[in-house]
Subunit: 144 residues, 3 copies
């Protein structure tokens, strides 16, 4: 059995989705796990992780627009507003999505569907340095 | 340690929830894992997985109605609409729920609560063939 | 490899968020896992688990207010209402958040971000006894 873990840092340029698929696949390759699972975890409460359609960028544009309506920046009901109008909205957007993704590993790769990409979703309007932890657990190639 | 993995395919008849609890429990039994965890992952971005009350079907009817209001099919703000009015809505419904469920395994079974069922949620109005990957990791019976 | 599992019970005083971070960290310590992952799973469909900002309580107050607007108790469209106006709302709130959290374990502890706390979210207005299962899988200290 292999237990592999590595930190992954991504510098965002503010609100938006950032494709991490290649980076995660690289770490899964490095882990030498053949069959098992990979968990990506973001150590923040104002950024999240999603699996999203990876072919047509208009999907992610619509996603941004939809969430901007669902959770209004600077909603006058918010009492937590010391860090700006996007702060409480960012916490809510994170909770409505998720901080961690658990993905199957098969044949030494993330077994995603053809149209699935792994995205870090920055919910703050300013750029941030986002820390993630990638953990891969499973059976190695030589153990098969 | 056991690492078990198998594909699971479900043919949906269009939008709605499909009970997978018995199938998942069967795969957990086949894995021979006694204590550990089971991850179910759906390889699509327009279908998702949920744990839902399993006794009264009106819960799932209310759930459909609620999500149809929350994410309107054919919303005029959507720019991604080449595949029909339900396509972008399906992506949003998937992101608001989840693509993977991680369930505890105890005594060789999924340790669900009495009223919890595992459902595949098809968000497209047409029928689809949905592929999932079930991964079970843990200690086998003979290793206790 | 270690596979550790233990039940965790929390008596809630009704709707609200309950900090479980210290309890989960205690169980991770007890597991003796050094590097791996910890899954917390709630065996109910009207309570959920979230990672939330842990410094300013106004975040959780705003979260309650936001969800009370997003999913209205006693919505006249609900047909599932035998257990009271908060029952169907509780199911929807659970599905919009999540029943399980998978957290990385590093150096024998949950590798949370500085501002992340683990909360059980009771969605019913009455107090309830909530059962969770904590599973920790990974490499033990002596195996490094």
């Amino acid at each position: 059995m292999i237990v592999f873990q590595q930190q992954l840092v991504h510098e965002t340029r503010g609100r938006g989705t950032y494709d991490l698929t290649a980076k995660i696949d690289e770490l899964v390759g490095k882990s030498a796990v053949d069959v098992g699972q990979c968990t990506v975890f973001v150590q923040h409460t104002s950024a999240s992780l999603i699996l999203c359609e990876n072919a047509d960028p208009s999907v992610r544009a619509d996603l941004e627009r939809y969430f901007a309506d669902l959770v209004e920046d600077g909603d006058p009901h918010f009492t937590h507003r010391s860090e700006g109008p996007d702060d409480m909205a960012a916490h809510l957007r994170s909770i409505l999505t998720t901080n961690s993704l658990t993905l199957p590993v098969a044949d030494g790769r993330c077994a995603l569907g053809t149209w699935q990409g792994i995205y870090l979703w920055e919910h703050r309007t300013q750029h941030h340095r986002r820390r993630m932890i990638v953990t891969v657990i499973g059976r190695g190639r030589s153990e098969d």
